[in-house]
């Protein structure tokens, strides 16, 4: 027995040592179905490359993730790390429960200039960065090729400008009786974030540069809203109706999200195309943007470091290429968007996605303020008032601005 003792001791010491190295991290996310599976595969790969690290990915339904994080923060039962829709980031950074990432970013020499500017607006507070973008989605134009052909238009040529959009929509309305363009007229974020694209197209913005006051009631805003009203009343190519006309083949064009490049082909029985969203002559290309950000909760330095190591790996270009190919999310970094395997995959497997990838440099962030949801609701309510003709665009946007201003103080 005696002669085995040193070996025995060494084994014990080694197991104690490796036990202290073994770390379990929990990661809350809302990536469902196939996307969740892609994440799990990547995590498995990471665990294989990093023995001793276990990452438990927990799916939480997207609609309830913020409530669950809120209770977890209050009860100090937070996971090691989590993701969230970028709109919730101002709320989360104000909770005081997140770790500032600046030191990790500079130690790991992360090239922040490789990231698209839009998503980086989120996760900042008092000059510190608390989150990194991990995925994006944005808006572009979809068109129904069957209706275009029926109206005698070239089914492979979408409009590039607002003027062409109106022209084509009018021909479609005249020849087929179908709606030319579907507007989101039911209020809420759906109306608000689509309209913001038209606002940016005209060179306007939602809030002032320092985020302290509403700026959508500008000349650009009035023109953008007037254009929506004109689509309904003047050109008669759009209507106020529940969302879904395009999906049922009753409208020829629509603005919708990059995720629909996956869903539309499953749900509709006509051929469709996608294009960068049209802009007014003399205006600017623009799109709105969604997506997720990843962040770490305050724990102990070792756990935080382990979480960062995973985030650094997950954010690296090769992993992001794999991630975006698997999920259909839009790249958050230029090196991913320009990656030859990625581009080849888009062109072969998901050609509808290409205009969305190309739109990413023109993706504007919705204002990163805690009260954004309320401001957006107010804005949408008055946009709808104008669409119904109960208020002029000026009146509607000025009233919305008046009601939104106190929310920013």
């Amino acid at each position: 027995m005696r002669k085995y003792t040193p070996t025995f001791l060494a084994v014990i010491l080694f197991s104690v040592f490796s036990l202290s190295l073994a770390q379990k991290l929990t990661f809350w996310h809302y990536w469902d179905g196939a996307n969740g599976q892609v994440l799990q595969n990547l995590i498995d790969q990471y665990q294989e490359e990093n023995p001793g690290i276990t990452i438990e990915a927990v799916f939480v339904p997207g609609s309830e993730l913020v409530s669950k994080l809120q209770t977890a923060i209050a009860g100090r039962q937070t996971p090691t790390m989590a993701i969230s829709d970028l709109v919730a980031m101002p709320f989360l950074t104000s909770s005081g429960a997140l770790v500032a990432l600046d030191d990790y970013i500079s130690e790991s020499n992360v090239d922040m200039s490789d990231y698209f500017a839009g998503p980086l607006v989120y996760g900042l507070r008092d000059g510190k960065r608390y989150s990194l973008p991990v995925s994006a989605s944005n808006l572009a134009l979809f068109w129904n090729k069957a209706i275009f052909a029926e109206a005698g238009l070239d089914p492979d040529t979408p409009p590039e400008t607002w003027e062409e959009l109106v022209e084509m929509a009018q021909i479609i309305k005249e020849k087929t009786g179908k709606w030319g363009y579907e507007l989101f007229t039911q209020g809420g974020e759906g109306t608000s974030w689509q309209w913001q694209v038209f606002l940016w197209n005209k060179g306007g913005d939602v809030l002032s540069g320092d985020l302290s006051s509403p700026a959508f009631n500008s000349e650009a805003g009035f023109e953008a809203l007037q254009f929506w009203v004109d689509l309904i009343d003047e050109y008669e190519v759009s209507t106020v109706a529940p969302w879904g006309l395009f999906g049922r083949g009753e409208a020829a064009m629509v603005m919708d999200g990059s995720w629909m490049t996956q869903f539309f082909p499953m749900q509709v029985n006509f051929e469709l195309g996608s294009a960068v969203f049209p802009y007014p002559e003399g205006g600017e290309i623009a799109t709105n943007m969604g997506g997720e950000q990843i962040f770490i909760f305050n724990t102990d330095p070792e756990t935080q470091q382990a979480a960062w190591n995973f985030i650094e790996w997950f954010s690296s270009t090769p992993v992001q290429v794999e991630w975006d190919r698997g999920t259909g999310f839009i790249p958050i970094k230029e090196s991913v968007a320009n990656d030859s395997t990625y581009i080849a995959w888009v062109k072969n497997a998901r050609p509808l996605l290409l205009p969305f990838v190309e739109s990413m440099p023109y993706a504007n962030p919705r204002p990163p303020v805690t009260k954004y949801p309320q401001i957006s609701d107010t804005l949408a309510n008055y946009i709808v008032e104008a669409l119904y003709g109960r208020m002029s665009p000026q009146e509607a946007l000025n009233t919305a601005a008046q009601e939104a201003a106190p929310l920013l103080r």
């Binding site: 927990v58 339904p61 609609s63 209770t71 209050a74």
Partner: protein, 273 residues
């Protein structure tokens, strides 16, 4: 009294309309669950014309549903038994026992029904977290084994039972426990069935609390499991509806069984219903 045939036809027409309105969501759900995704928005919406049974297979495979059903069953049985027993006991005390502050206490309990759940969500979560109960069956069951509504239901029912029955038992030497167990409860099948069906449906359909207190897939009940199909970016309607049909079957069965007991209870209790 002779029934007027026209009146009978009108009554049945009215009943048929009511039945159709109640059945419509179910028909829509079943029809959607059997459609291929491509014809989701196409008529007919209420009569199945496609029979894409693979939706059920795919939905069943998409998540660990046997485990979700088991968790839902354990949680629902626990809550239903607990609510029925404890609410009956509390209801009896409020109906029959005399103690200081009884009515104030009763109205305080009733008052809790006016507090919306989100207000108590975080405090309840903190208690569960302090007890170390997160991600356990206790967390799913224990906080919900009392129900102000069920206490109210039992108290009102017990008040309608004639005092004389209990007085006769008292004379025969029975104590409160015996009276409650041997006289009152056997007379209370209808209200127990009513209370149990409310508890069952509440527990089976509950979503937010189970989501907040569970973290692992193994502990989640069926309603949280259904959220797997409601993605952030799109809803898999055909799969969601297939899974929802499966999740609804136990609730419908429970309702049918309890409904039968409900009617039996009224006819056999010897009380005028």
């Amino acid at each position: 009294m002779k029934t007027n045939p026209l009146r009978s036809v009108l009554t049945h027409l009215l009943l048929l309309t009511g039945a159709f309105i109640s059945a419509m969501p179910f028909l829509w759900m079943v029809t959607t669950s059997l459609k291929p995704a491509g014809v989701l928005y196409q008529a007919p919406l209420l009569i199945p014309t496609y029979f894409e049974w693979s939706n059920y297979v795919e939905a069943w495979k998409a998540a660990p549903f046997p485990r979700f059903f088991l968790n839902s069953a354990i949680m629902t049985i626990g809550i239903t038994l607990g609510q029925t027993l404890f609410s009956a006991m509390a209801g009896y005390a409020f109906a029959r026992l005399r103690f200081p502050g009884r009515d104030v206490l009763f109205f305080l309990i009733l008052g809790t029904m006016m507090i919306p759940f989100p207000v108590t969500l975080i405090p309840s979560f903190l208690i569960i977290a302090d007890l170390g109960w997160l991600d356990t069956y206790q967390a799913l069951i224990v906080p919900r084994v009392v129900s102000a509504f069920a206490i109210f239901l039992f108290r009102q029912f017990f008040l309608s039972i004639p005092q004389e029955l209990e007085e006769a038992a008292l004379i025969d030497g029975a104590n409160r426990v015996v009276i409650f167990a041997r006289i009152i409860l056997p007379l209370s099948t209808p209200v127990m069935a009513a209370s149990a069906i409310f508890s069952f449906l509440f527990a089976w359909n509950d979503f937010l609390w189970p989501l907040i207190v569970t973290n692992s897939t193994e502990m989640r009940p069926i309603q949280v499991g259904l959220a797997f199909f409601q993605g952030q970016y799109g809803i898999f309607w055909t799969l969601l509806m297939a899974a929802t049909v499966l999740a609804t079957i136990p609730a419908i069965l429970a309702f049918l069984v309890a409904q039968q007991r409900f009617i039996e209870g009224i006819t056999s209790s010897g009380l005028k219903g």
